[in-house]
């Protein structure tokens, strides 16, 4: 388990309303609190049920009580549940040292579906994210969740991969115990399985150990 490399360590989680930002930010927030860190989370959830942009900003510090808002250009990690949203957050919070983990499955905005505007080419989008990140990881968390028969756990797959990347001071056990306290019994097993699959994401270990 890592110690945080910056004080405060700023994590931005972003996605589309309904993808489950809040579950991730609450699990991380409560778990780091148990580890003795100070933590604040700011949720922007105005569009949560209407397919708009949602973000959570988590700030973790050994001692400092930070404000909830992350200043421009000050993110250390961006976790994107949707690739366009990762890029959007990099424009506001990115910097040469930022790390990103992105679910590659796009969710098209209404205006794209209606063909008024074009969703960017996925490879161009990945290149843009990579060029604005110190390191960028891409995973197909949505496919893994679909294979589990519950696309709703895409967020937990990504949370598993985030833990495996060893950037935030938490272990898989820490998150597991958070999920156990948070989730109803009938939802728990699929979430734990999603966490495991995300954690054991092929390639991620190698990439981390041999940067």
């Amino acid at each position: 388990m890592a110690r945080i490399s910056r004080d405060p360590y700023n994590v931005v989680i972003c996605g589309v309303g309904g993808q489950g930002n809040i579950l991730i930010s609450q699990a991380i927030g409560n778990a780091v609190l148990r580890k003795g860190y100070r933590v604040t989370i700011a949720d922007d959830i105005g569009a949560s049920q209407r397919a708009g942009v949602v973000t959570s900003k988590i700030r973790i510090s050994p001692k400092k009580s930070c404000g909830p808002l992350i200043p421009e250009g000050q993110a250390h990690f961006v976790l994107g549940l949707e690739p366009l949203e990762t890029l959007r957050m990099l424009y506001r919070y990115g910097n040469p040292g930022v790390l990103t983990l992105t679910n590659i499955a796009p969710i098209f905005p209404a205006e794209v579906l209606n063909k008024r505007v074009q969703y960017p080419d996925i490879d161009e989008l990945k290149n843009a994210i990579s060029s604005l990140s110190k390191r960028a990881w891409f995973v197909d968390a949505t496919s893994i969740a679909l294979d589990l028969g519950a696309v709703i756990v895409t967020n937990v797959v990504l949370l598993g991969t985030l833990i495996a990347l060893n950037e935030i001071p938490l272990t898989r056990n820490d998150i597991e115990s958070e999920l156990r306290t948070k989730l109803a019994a009938q939802r728990l097993s699929v979430n734990l399985e999603a966490l495991r699959l995300g954690y054991e994401m092929p390639g991620v270990w190698n990439m981390t150990n041999n940067p």
Partner: protein
């Protein structure tokens, strides 16, 4: 969420500002809680209602904020501690009562009354950026502004003591970046549930009526001066930083975390001191003067959200002080160092500090900015909120749009506040031309409906939701009927206050405590007023359009159309089954040449396939509502009864 509020005591927990306010109120032993839903305030009462029964508390979603404060005042006057919650705009509705109750007070035996107002700087979910602090100044009642969830929990408890000490309600102002942010909060054990008997001592008459008004005004002024004395020594106001400072920041609310972050990032702790004021009104003037004098700072920067409230009063302190006059310059909005509008961010304070202290700060190196510019912003496609797939409002506004088109005249639709306001957003149909505050649709419609004598010949349609109808549309409707205005009033009845999280209202058969209660039927109610009332399901598209056309044609008085269909999100929670499986008949679909379903109807569940060039159902987004079948001009979209299995929905 509620279990966090009740079971973990005497330890540190992660609570949102709203949860912390609820927790503080529970620790203060409240027995009565009212409010009207409104972002960002709704979670306070929701959390209290969830534990109300086990804590012996009465909680209600009131019909509007005015009734909410009046009910809370009743409980307070009967000796109970009461809490009332609302958003910024709600305070306007409540202010009529609050501007009288400030003078009459809570009586000699009253329980503490705390009014929590959550402002929304930046207008994330509001049609204004108004600043509640002016009401506290205007009413001359105590006002506390917390800067963190911990502070919020602590201040709510203290607010009840202040209210009881000074026999007046006390306002606690929150704001989006507090209400919706989580922080570590140390909490105490909850007290044993209160069992105080409610009673009103009829030997006491409490009113600010004419015979008493000037004396009571004088008393309120004295009360305010006494409150100021208490605030002068309050530990909630604190100074951080060096003894002598080049620059003194005076801040409140979100101004303090933004200032602390800015000072930390710039590393200017050695020259900048921060005075945080939680007791914003009445302002502890001596405390402010002392810190300005002691720090020897030539510049004072006032950091606050949204208006220059503290700033003007700090300037008053300087103007009245013989020690400070001419020695210190007060900066902030007046000097242009802090932006006049929008949500306050650490970045705005950083910018102000670098300018005042002549420091250099670049958040990211130029090479990175260059990379962003090279990429261009084209890739950042907007993601505007829109009606959910299956939303009855899409159907209602589709019918309105079609009916207006067929009618051919310049029909004027006046909207109101709710999910249906999305009609004016980029992804909406733009049928609605005027939207203001709650209940204003029918009120303005009543006025437009009386312009016949001035040559006005456009049909007038006012649209409101069910919760909005009860909140403040009813007086406007009766006004229109009484004055024979020409107006079609459309009530979009989706069975909940959907925009803010499905809170019950008088039209639902359940209340905030989860108990069943008789529902007021909007159509029956309107009929009882003597006007023509029609009820339609907006998913019966042809029938609804015909009905609207008929109502538009008959000019003469008020006609009500109730478009009734349950919010799709609630329906899915209850039924858990999509009604139809949808598919497109590629033979019939004219594809890109037509694009009516995607370009005009614009449901996110439809797109044009890149491969076939034909319309395509977006699996995972489509809610299977079947509405598009009636929209497609080629009858190419087909709905089949769902056999019982849902398609997985990613959102």
């Amino acid at each position: 969420m509620s279990n966090r509020l009740v079971f973990h005591a005497s330890r540190q927990v992660l609570l949102s500002g709203n949860e912390a306010i609820a927790r503080g109120a529970l620790e203060a032993g409240i027995q009565f809680c009212t409010g009207y839903p409104g972002t960002p305030s709704s979670e306070i009462l929701e959390n209290i209602a969830a534990v109300a029964k086990e804590r012996g508390i009465y909680a209600e979603w009131s019909i509007n904020e005015k009734v909410a404060v009046e009910s809370a005042a009743a409980a307070s006057l009967a000796g109970l501690r009461s809490l009332v919650t609302m958003k910024n705009a709600g305070m306007n509705v409540a202010s009529d009562f609050l501007m009288h109750h400030n003078l009459s007070g809570i009586g000699s035996r009253g329980g503490g009354m705390v009014v929590v107002v959550c402002d929304d700087p930046g207008g994330h979910s509001s049609s204004d950026e108004q600043d509640t602090r002016w009401l506290a100044r205007s009413a001359n009642v105590p006002l506390l502004v917390p800067d963190s969830p911990q502070d919020a929990r602590d201040l709510v408890k203290w607010a009840f003591e202040i209210s009881e000490t000074f026999r007046s309600y006390c306002i606690l102002r929150s704001y989006t970046s507090l209400s919706h942010s989580y922080g570590v909060v140390k909490i105490d054990e909850l007290p044993y549930p209160e069992s105080r008997k409610a009673t009103y001592d009829i030997s006491e008459t409490i009113t600010p009526e004419t015979p008493y008004i000037v004396a009571l005004h004088e008393k309120a002024h004295m009360r305010s001066e006494n409150t100021r004395e208490l605030f002068e020594t309050s530990g909630f106001n604190c100074y951080e930083g060096t003894e002598r400072a080049e620059l003194l920041i005076i801040c409140c609310g979100s101004g303090s975390p933004c200032s602390r972050d800015a000072v930390d990032i710039l590393g200017v702790e050695d020259v900048v001191g921060i005075l945080k004021i939680d007791t914003v009104w009445p302002l502890p003037k001596r405390l402010v003067e002392e810190h300005m004098y002691r720090s020897c700072a030539q510049h004072v920067l006032v950091v606050e959200e949204t208006d220059p409230f503290l700033e003007l009063h700090v300037k008053e302190v300087v103007a009245d002080s013989s020690k400070l006059a001419g020695k210190v310059r007060v900066l902030g909005r007046g000097s242009g160092h802090i932006p006049h509008c929008g949500e306050l961010t650490p970045d705005s304070v950083i910018k102000a500090l670098t300018s005042i202290l002549r420091r250099k700060y670049t958040p990211r190196e130029s090479g990175y900015i260059q990379k962003m510019e090279n990429l261009g912003g084209n890739m950042l496609v907007n993601r505007d909120a829109t009606w959910c797939p299956g939303c009855p409002h899409r159907a209602s506004f589709w019918c309105l749009k079609s009916a207006f088109g067929q009618d051919g005249r310049e029909c004027l639709a006046i909207g109101d506040v709710g999910c249906y306001t999305l009609d004016i957003w980029p992804a909406g149909y733009h049928v609605t031309k005027l939207v203001h505050g709650m209940g204003t649709g029918l009120g303005m419609g009543s006025g437009f409906g009386k312009l016949d004598g001035f040559g006005f010949d456009q049909p007038v349609v006012s649209v409101c939701g069910d919760s909005t109808f009860f909140h403040s549309s009813i007086p406007a409707l009766i006004n229109a009927i009484h004055n024979k205005a020409n107006m079609v009033a459309i009530v979009l009845d989706n069975g909940a206050t959907a925009m803010t999280g499905f809170q019950p209202h008088p039209g639902t058969d359940v209340n905030a405590l989860g108990d069943s209660t008789p529902a007021v039927d909007i159509a029956d109610f309107c009929r009882s007023l003597g006007c023509e009332v029609m009820v339609r399901d907006p998913f019966d598209v042809e029938e609804t359009i015909t009905c609207i056309l008929k109502l538009l044609k008959n000019r003469g008085g008020v006609k009500v159309l109730v478009l009734r269909r349950m919010c799709e999100l609630i329906r899915m929670r209850q039924v858990k089954l999509q009604p139809y499986r949808m598919r497109v008949d590629d033979e019939r679909c004219k594809g890109q040449k037509c694009s009516y379903c995607t370009d005009v109807f614009a449901c996110p569940g439809l797109t044009i396939s890149g491969k076939t060039g034909k319309a395509k159902i977006v699996e995972g987004i489509c809610a299977g509502c079947g509405l598009c079948v009636d929209v497609c001009p080629s009858k190419a979209i087909i709905r089949e009864q769902n056999s019982g299995k849902n398609i997985q929905r990613p959102i």
